[in-house]
């Protein structure tokens, strides 16, 4: 299956059913690579439509304490971009349909080299890339490569993004747009659903792409609210927190239960 289409097909199917996508984020390599693969399968079984896989980085400036600690744990075990690509490869051996988006920072890609990274990402079955510290102004060569390898460039829109810029982002975006629901880092507390709804409606004027909302959704209640006003509910820190606190033998069960709750909330009429 064509990769860009893996994301498109997923959203088309959901749109037909009038349902929002549920997109869990976990940090790759936390607590270890094998567990990450198992967690990905568990998330899919519990209702995940797309998986965002965090690439561990030593200096995650856009992340709050929970994902920072997860990143630190993975980095301390030596998990890097190559290992993350291996994780996707292992996952793809059993799952060829669920889109996987890598989310992280630019330096690991810069150091690996654009060509090597993009080729490997394509061959292991990565569907999209979201580079937090790479605004579209800086991406010429890299995005061209992503496109020629059928990997979607996913961009963030923030509460501070001006209208003119939203228009330009919409012209360049692929896969889905990721609306950062709060001014702050991942896992921030104060989600203002009304304000998010307004901004999503504004973005909607300029694109037909699905619009996902993340940063600050931590339970079934907030997931239900966001599902009503957007096309995708993205949940990260709340899951990563469970990975940190749950004993490993119970982790898959707990994560599955939590995600099913979010799934039900997301699908609630």
């Amino acid at each position: 299956m064509n990769r860009m289409n893996r994301i498109t097909t997923c959203f088309d199917n959901l749109r037909a059913k009038k349902r929002a996508a549920l997109i869990p984020f976990i940090t790759a390599g936390d607590p270890n690579s094998e567990m990450t693969v198992s967690l990905m399968h568990t998330l899919v079984e519990a209702g995940a439509n797309v998986i965002e896989l965090g690439v561990p980085f030593s200096d995650p400036v856009a992340d709050g304490p929970v994902i920072q600690r997860a990143s630190e744990r993975a980095v301390s075990k030596g998990i890097g971009l190559r290992d993350v690509l291996d994780i996707v490869k292992t996952f793809r051996a059993q799952n060829q349909t669920t889109p996987v988006v890598l989310m992280g920072y630019f330096n690991p890609i810069e150091i690996m080299g654009y060509e090597t990274f993009v080729q490997t990402a394509q061959s292991v079955g990565v569907d999209g890339i979201l580079t937090v510290d790479l605004p579209p102004e800086e991406v010429t060569e890299f995005t061209t490569l992503l496109r020629s390898h059928e990997i979607a460039s996913i961009f963030l829109v923030a509460p501070t993004t001006a209208t003119e810029r939203i228009k330009r982002l919409c012209l360049q975006a692929e896969g889905y747009l990721y609306y950062v629901s709060v001014k702050g880092v991942t896992g921030s507390a104060n989600l203002d659903v009304m304000a998010v709804a307004d901004k999503v409606a504004e973005i909607r004027q300029y694109t037909d792409l699905p619009i996902g909302v993340g940063f600050g959704i931590k339970n079934a209640e907030s997931a239900a609210k966001i599902a009503k006003i957007s096309d995708a509910v993205i949940v990260g820190s709340a899951l990563v927190q469970l990975v940190e606190t749950e004993p490993q033998d119970k982790l898959l069960g707990t994560i599955g239960t939590f995600l099913r709750e979010l799934r039900e909330a997301t699908d609630a009429p």
């Binding site: 980085f57 630190e72 690991p108 961009f155 001014k183």
Partner: protein
């Protein structure tokens, strides 16, 4: 390259005003100085004209204004028919017309390219070999002809073989940036100079032309780096999360405005004089020079500034800017605590809330500076993530900024970070080099042969070097921290051993492993203990203008003692790195050679570190 502007030619940018529908607008366009007008022969456009309209317009048009006819996927017979009735100079094809089609009218033509993210502009140029120029416009699905939307200028490769005409959403507000980014042959404006669709506005046309003229003068005049997005060659730029893009644009606009504002500059200079104590002396270290037996060494005494280092030059500038931008809360990162103290100092003076982020490890090593900041009313936040040093303090400050952008101004302490920080901090620190130029002329009667400064992030070094960059005869050395030795891996010398990567908002040389993780650094001097370096230094390394060397902890310590004993000046351990390199080369030079070393800070803060190393408890 960087210095080719020595024999600069004046940049000339032509202007086409497109979508003229009335004779009076054509006259006004010519009067405003337009080089060309565009007539639209496309009936789906609100600016389309009939043959009769076009004829009337051309009858009144003064000479020497080129008339361009715009067509979109028109029937060839239609184009030929227009050509027999309207004397067009050039055709502009704005649809999907293939090269053969464009050629058949035996008229010079321009081909419009709509910039989609995946467009290959080079292939396009090859395909339309006969086109006189390419007109770049935005791609909007379903819209042909002009779009009025700005495309991603960064997507256009530099040095194209055909002249480029920029179109798409140009206005008086963005044309300057478009010219600086793309260096086009011409710019094309339509809706940006209109009152309503198809009706041009005289004032807007005049303002637009003025904007172009000013930019031409300015662009011919300035160095080619950085570009409008803060790129020094491949380095610099703005690699930040989306939330920070808008605040950085606001900061850039405010900075560009105030850096030319005489009231702002007067206040800045007044503060540098009366509060900081500038100009700082340039001191001939005669005894040390004699002892080394070679070149004459002059020390730029930034250690005598208020708060004891060069850092305050920058914090004053940024705090004045913060005040004008209406920000009430200041944040900063600090390593050794010098920048933290300088920030807390100006925050106290301007009555602003101040939070300083400092690595937990640095808080332990620099207890005195931590207490100084607290005395000044700042909150010092310990950062316990990562390596618990300067880079982690920077991460945490950026997180704070993302969260509190509405009321908070982030005072970055060095020439790193996203655009415009590297430029802004450099400009505030350049007072060091400007004063040195005057002082050395008075003291020695001529410019120095060599400049030396230590480089962590590199703000004191760029401050000294920048005003001298065009003086090609002057050799410059930036001195990094070799820590326990470059070969041991325990150092902080990215320019000597690192490779280009992206950290803290810019591309620069970094100490990074194969996974792209940032490495922990080591230096006796907390102020140099940083895995990156300002992007302008990366650029100056690559183009060879500045040589970057490194000295070890021990070499720096020896120089620290020499200066203290021979000249009665206790230097900061950071500055001791510059002194240590001076000590290496001064003896190899003739006695009539002149070296200026930037003595960037005083060493009082380091007395504990030095004592501890020597087994002394105080």
């Amino acid at each position: 390259m960087f210095f080719e502007n020595k024999n600069k030619s004046i940049l000339r940018i032509r202007v086409k005003i497109c979508g003229i529908t009335r004779p009076q607008d054509a006259i006004l366009a010519a009067k405003a100085g337009a080089d060309a007008i565009g007539l639209v022969f496309y009936d789906k456009s609100p600016r389309t004209v009939s043959v009769a309209q076009a004829q009337t317009i051309l009858q009144t048009l003064p000479p020497f204004v080129t008339v361009v006819g715009l067509f979109v996927d028109a029937d060839p017979a239609f184009v030929s028919d227009i050509l027999t009735q309207v004397p067009l100079d050039i055709l502009q094809f704005h649809g999907e017309e293939p090269p053969d089609y464009c050629l058949q009218f035996h008229k010079p033509y321009i081909k419009a390219v709509r910039i989609r993210p995946d467009i290959d502009i080079l292939a396009f140029i090859k395909r339309y070999t006969h086109a006189k120029a390419l007109l770049l416009d935005s791609y909007v699905q379903g819209v042909k002809g002009g779009t009025g939307i700005v495309f991603n200028w960064q997507q256009v490769p530099a040095h194209l073989s055909k002249p480029i005409i920029v179109a798409g959403g140009l206005t008086v507000d963005n044309v300057s940036q478009a010219i600086q980014t793309l260096r086009p042959y011409a710019v094309d404006v339509s809706s940006g100079v209109e009152s309503t669709k198809g009706i041009k506005n005289a004032d807007k046309m005049a303002a637009f032309m003025k904007g172009v003229s000013i930019t031409m003068a300015k662009t011919s005049d300035t160095k080619k780096v950085p570009d409008a997005y803060g790129h020094f060659g491949p380095y610099g730029g703005s690699f930040v999360p989306e939330t920070l893009i808008q605040p950085l644009e606001e900061l850039q606009q405010a900075y560009e405005h105030y850096v030319k504002d005489s009231t702002f500059l007067a206040e800045f200079n007044d503060d540098l004089h009366h509060y900081v104590g500038r100009p700082s002396p340039l001191y001939h270290a005669a005894r040390w020079s004699e002892q080394l037996g070679g070149a004459q060494i002059y020390l730029k005494r930034e250690d005598l500034n208020h708060t004891g280092a060069h850092k305050i030059n920058n914090t004053i500038g940024q705090a004045l800017l913060a005040k004008r931008m209406g920000k009430t809360r200041i944040i900063a990162e600090t390593g050794a605590g010098q920048h933290g103290v300088a920030t807390a100092t100006v925050a106290a003076r301007f009555g602003m809330e101040c939070v300083v982020y400092m690595g937990a490890k640095d808080i332990e090593r620099q207890a005195i500076n931590v207490y100084r900041m607290r005395l000044l009313g700042a909150e010092v936040c310990a950062v316990n993530s990562g390596s618990k040093t300067l880079k982690d303090a920077l991460n945490e400050a950026m997180r704070d900024w993302v969260t509190n952008i509405d009321n908070t101004f982030y005072i970055i302490g060095t020439v790193a970070g996203p655009h415009p920080y590297p430029v802004m901090v450099r400009d505030f620190q350049a007072v060091i080099g400007r004063e040195t130029r005057q002082q050395i002329k008075i003291l020695a009667g001529r410019f120095p042969d060599i400049l030396i400064a230590c480089v962590g992030g590199g703000s004191n070094a760029i401050g000294l070097f920048y005003p001298f960059l065009d003086d090609q005869k002057i050799t410059m050395y930036g001195v990094e921290a070799a820590g326990e030795g470059l070969e041991t891996g325990r150092h902080a010398a990215p320019l000597n051993t690192g490779k280009p990567g992206v950290l803290h908002g810019n591309r620069t040389y970094l100490m990074t492993d194969d996974n792209g993780q940032i490495l922990e650094t080591h230096s006796i001097s907390a102020g140099l203990d940083y895995p990156g370096v300002g992007p302008e230094h990366a650029w100056l390394k690559d183009n060879g203008r500045v040589q970057y060397v490194a000295v070890t902890d021990n070499e720096a310590l020896n120089a620290f003692h020499d200066l203290t004993r021979l000249e009665g000046i206790i230097p900061a351990l950071e500055s001791s790195h510059a002194l240590a390199y001076c000590k290496k080369i001064a003896p190899t030079l003739e006695k009539n050679k002149i070296i200026v070393v930037n003595l960037s800070g005083r060493g009082d803060k380091d007395i504990h570190t030095v004592a501890t190393l020597e087994g002394i408890t105080i």
